[in-house]
């Protein structure tokens, strides 16, 4: 157990109020669009109305003639600087501005720069682009057909296939299936959706001809990585680039990639020598920046008649859109999708994924998710419910029978992951107990007799987060460590900087609590700063629930390095041997003589004023933390729904979320993360989809069609926790921000299917809209 510090110190486990709130509640946050520099001008993108078309000509004369217009940049202009294309994070490349042809609706075609944003938008309307329409490929299942249009003429490979990836033992799995008594299967489509953080993406690029330095204020979850990309792609010396990621209005994975608008703004600033602001509209955000999911999945489970699972087989078709711009570790084209065995012991498993191009926006980003873990968790939790239906077993009991037992951790899965720790049954039992599972089943039976529709859905998910160990994980070759640097000032106050970047997770508070825990300096006295590449140590950023597992760990280790030095200073001040000292948060004291002590503040002062002979002055440390393994948060969610037989509307009556993320830094913040993630899961399950018509026209390209739940649709969430610390993390934490978004979609869908299962319904694809449910009710003859 973690030693609990006093409330005054506010270390781990204290629900201290957030330090960052004070500026936000006064309207004094500093988001990218709030950055206002002298002489700043504005950029606006011209976008393609077609999903697939040859570019015949672009005429910029009228636009350039409009008073106030400073420049119009096209793909041909960028090509002269070798910047018409840029690398993606998945070893593909992507057009910055189109040359030759366009490959998705809303693709970037030209960039207009003007003195104010209204004039820039006016001028964009005046850019005349002549297109010749080409056949459009929308259905990924047709991407490999012989008559499919070839989308990526730039590639050597002359088809629409991107990758085939497989893991596990195909042959051994097949043998188990051949002998299996029971085979259950489900085809589940995880629809294309979008993180839609409330703040869209944007930047202010400021190249100074006076200093030769480029400063980019950027909506970036990974400012250091972006600096390196700009240096490599743009050929600008990296010391002359400063990326500042200011306050970020939500990210959820949307702000990991580099987008064409950023590059255009940078090019414009380099060309014009003035700051250039580019802020996308909401519609541009939904239509062109990193989408998520779009996985067409099949899962088959082989099992005994008594429900013991024997093997899992998964086959998936991944729709990547026009460019493979998935943001994920290099060696994993389908991310960590091979966590699809979930919380269960499968003696054999096999998983294969094929990625294809279509005429849709690029992406495949990790939306509040550690690289395809959401897809995997949804699939396995759906498949387990289908098996329970086939076997006529209670879904909770089927899960219990197949959980990896607590005593088997660390557990090596048949697809190669070593789960660090877990106690799945404890989490499920708590959730079932809290929601009153047995009584709910009784109520359901009674309601069914009366013809009423009520369902209970369970999801016992396991995550894999905190990428990751350098031996396996890198992005564009950069290993996925992360960092922290701590400086203790002479008066005992501290400043700490990390390579990560908060987008609402509350890092300014939680990292301060880690320092408080380790050094006994009150969290109130610790200032946290992230996002400025000139000052923060290098790191890969915040996504994939990696901040606590990586930078959080680095913070603890850096603090311990400081404590080691503090001990030497304390021994000098107390005129004793280091080995005679004991530590309690905030001070060293002499063993057996607690009155002989030196506080960390006294020690800090001495580090600058009374330096022990032979020791360097100052009290600072830096740590670059390479985690030995990933962490595996888990939990069980139980959802209760009632279905309106007149309208097909699903009402979430109750939702109980039991999470286990190991040791907790700030329970209030963890609970807030759970609430938010569940609400995003609700939206995915019931409301949202980025769809395309047969011509490649985007459906769901604005908040008019892409629905976000309001306070009215959102139910009251119930939360609880179990605590199974990570054995390899310095303070036993696992990371939590994504669990609710990963675990909840299956709970919602399982609940709806459970309400209809006695009518023969085994699966309904998300989003489960009232219209879809109403059609099922009609078909089954149970509509009111």
């Amino acid at each position: 157990m973690i030693h609990k510090t006093s409330p005054e110190i506010g270390g781990m486990g204290h629900s201290i109020k957030r330090k960052e709130d004070l500026r936000f509640i006064q309207g004094k946050g500093n988001y990218v669009d709030d950055v206002n520099l002298p002489g700043m001008v504005y950029g606006h993108l011209v976008r393609s109305p077609y999903a697939h078309a040859r570019l015949k000509s672009i005429n910029t004369e009228k636009a350039k003639a409009l008073p106030g217009v400073l420049a119009v940049i096209t793909g041909e202009d960028l090509a002269k600087a070798n910047l018409a294309w840029m690398p993606t994070l998945s070893y593909d490349k992507q057009m910055v501005l189109a040359t030759g042809k366009v490959l998705f609706q809303s693709q970037e075609v030209a960039f207009v720069v003007a003195e104010d944003r209204y004039t820039a938008a006016d001028a964009a309307e005046l850019v005349e682009v002549e297109y010749e329409e080409l056949p459009v490929l929308v259905d990924p299942h047709k991407a490999m057909d012989a008559d499919a249009p070839l989308l990526r003429e730039d590639r050597e490979q002359k088809n629409n296939h991107i990758f085939h990836w497989e893991v596990g033992d195909r042959q051994a799995t097949e043998e188990v299936f051949q002998k299996a008594a029971v085979k259950a299967s489900v085809h589940a489509f995880f629809p294309r959706c979008h993180p839609a953080p409330l703040e869209t993406c944007g930047c202010v690029a400021d190249f100074s001809r006076a200093t030769g330095r480029l400063t980019v204020y950027l909506t970036s979850q990974a400012p250091h990585a972006h600096r390196t990309v700009f240096a490599l792609v743009g050929g600008i010396p990296e010391n002359n680039i400063r990326v500042i990621s200011p306050d970020i209005g939500g990210g959820f994975g949307n702000k990991v990639p580099v987008y064409p608008g950023y590059v255009c703004a940078i090019v414009a600033s380099l060309t014009l020598g003035v700051p250039v602001k580019w802020i996308e509209t909401r519609s541009e955000n939904l239509q062109s920046t990193g989408f998520a999911r779009d996985y067409h999945m099949t899962a088959e489970i082989a099992a005994d008649r008594d429900g013991k699972m024997k093997a899992l087989r998964v086959k998936t078709l991944a729709d990547h859109g026009a460019f493979n711009a998935a943001a994920q570790p290099t060696k994993f084209p389908a991310g960590l999708f091979s966590i699809c065995t979930g919380s269960y012991e499968y003696p054999q498993a096999f998983c294969e994924v094929d990625g294809v191009y279509t005429n849709k926006a690029p992406g495949g980003i990790a939306y509040r998710c550690s690289f395809r873990v959401t897809e995997a968790a949804y699939l396995i939790e759906r498949a387990v419910d289908v098996l329970a239906l086939d076997l006529k077993m209670d879904p909770a009991e089927l899960r219990r029978k197949n959980f990896i037992p607590a005593e088997k951790f660390p557990y090596k899965s048949s697809l190669g992951w070593t789960y660090d720790s877990g106690n799945y049954e404890a989490a499920m039992d708590l959730a079932l107990d809290k929601i009153g599972y047995k009584e709910l089943r009784k109520e359901q039976a009674e309601k069914r007799k009366k013809g009423e529709l009520m369902g209970i859905g369970i999801s016992s998910f396991t995550e894999i987060v905190g990428a990751g160990p350098a031996h396996t994980f890198d992005i564009l070759g950069i290993k996925m460590f992360d960092s922290c640097e701590i400086r203790i000032h002479p008066t005992g106050k501290a400043m700490a900087r990390m390579g990560t970047k908060s987008q609402g997770q509350g890092h300014e508070t939680t990292y301060a609590q880690i320092v408080a825990q380790e050094l006994g300096i009150p969290a109130a006295d610790v200032t946290i700063e992230e996002g400025d590449t000139d000052t923060a140590p290098y790191g890969l950023g915040t996504y994939a629930s990696r901040s606590t597992p990586t930078s959080g760990a680095a913070t603890a280790i850096a603090a311990r390095k400081i404590r080691d030095k503090a001990k030497k200073i304390a021994a000098y001040l107390l005129e004793c041997n280091e080995n005679d000292l004991e530590w309690e948060p905030g001070k060293f004291f002499v063993k057996g003589a607690p009155s002989k002590s030196k506080t960390i503040q006294e020690i800090a002062f001495a580090a600058y004023t009374n330096i022990p002979p032979g020791l360097e002055a100052g009290l600072e440390a830096v740590d670059y933390y390479d985690p030995p393994n990933l962490t595996f948060p888990f939990g069980t969610y139980v959802c209760v729904v009632d279905i309106d037989q007149g309208t097909g509307e699903v009402k979430v009556r109750r939702f109980m979320a039991v999470d286990d993320c190991g040791n907790i830094i700030n329970p209030m913040i963890v609970e807030g993360q759970i609430h938010g993630g569940l609400t995003e899961g609700l939206a995915i399950a019931f409301m949202q989809q980025i769809d395309y018509d047969e011509s490649g026209n985007i459906q769901g390209g604005s908040f008019q069609d892409y629905l976000l739940p309001t306070a009215v649709e959102t139910p009251h969430w119930e939360t609880d926790k179990t605590c199974t610390p990570s054995p390899h993390h310095p303070f036993g934490a696992k990371g939590v921000g994504e669990s609710p978004n990963v675990g909840s979609p299956a709970a919602f869908v399982n609940a709806v299917v459970d309400a209809l299962s006695h009518l023969g319904v085994k699966h309904i694809d998300m989003p489960i809209t009232p219209w879809k449910v109403w059609k099922v009710l009609q078909e089954k003859g149970v509509a009111a």
């Binding site: 109020k17 957030r18 960052e20 709130d21 004070l22 500026r23 936000f24 509640i25 006064q26 309207g27 004094k28 946050g29 988001y31 669009d33 709030d34 206002n36 008073p67 106030g68 944003r117 209204y118 004039t119 839609a196 953080p197 409330l198 703040e199 869209t200 306050d247 970020i248 209005g249 939500g250 959820f252 509209t281 909401r282 519609s283 987008q503 609402g504 997770q505 509350g506 209030m668 913040i669 609970e671 807030g672 993360q673 609430h675 938010g676 993630g677 569940l678 609400t679 995003e680 604005s702 908040f703 008019q704 976000l708 309001t710 306070a711 009215v712 959102t714 009251h716 969430w717």
Partner: protein, 170 residues
């Protein structure tokens, strides 16, 4: 470019004016002409409510109005919630105490909607609060703690609150 027109408004108790194009949206007037960047823009279809301000006692999404339409109006933005003496409004306090914000982007709009909600209905039920803030989208909190923040403020009106509430009544 159309001829500029003078727009004069009282914002957070202070008379401000600027010459603007007739097509300038009120939200751009507030953010750029008046440099009050606490009011945010989160969409282009008037759904998100991040730009909500109080105009003559009523909430408006300031992206749905032209600045010229606001000429002569009295406007309250998030920057005007704190008392002159620097005391946080009960709602601001509530959002902090109840963890009613995460990324903070929706917060100014949420505060302004909640402000008018509490003025019109000082003791709202949970359902009334949820309806009252349903014009504002939040992507981080799941709303539960925002409801808690409004309840906190309803239970603890401050003197500052009463004073600004008078302003709304006018």
């Amino acid at each position: 470019m159309a001829k500029k027109q003078l727009v004069s408004v009282k914002v957070n108790g202070r008379q401000r004016e600027a010459a603007v194009e007739p097509r300038l949206l009120l939200v751009h007037f507030i953010r750029e002409s008046l440099q009050l960047t606490g009011t945010h823009i989160g969409c282009d279809t008037s759904h998100c409510g991040a730009c909500t301000v109080v105009l003559n006692g009523k909430t408006v999404k300031s992206c749905t109005m032209f600045a010229v339409q606001a000429d002569g109006a009295e406007i309250l933005t998030v920057e005007g919630l704190m008392s002159a003496g620097g005391q946080l409004h009960a709602l601001q306090e509530g959002f902090k105490q109840e963890h009613g914000l995460q990324c903070g982007f929706c917060t100014p709009g949420m505060l302004m909607s909640s402000y008018v909600l509490l003025h019109d209905n000082p003791n709202p039920s949970e359902e009334e609060i949820r309806r009252g803030i349903s014009g504002n989208l939040c992507r981080c909190t799941g709303y539960q703690n925002i409801v808690g923040a409004v309840q906190y403020a309803a239970a603890k009106p401050t003197k500052a609150d009463a004073k600004v509430a008078e302003g709304v009544a006018k």
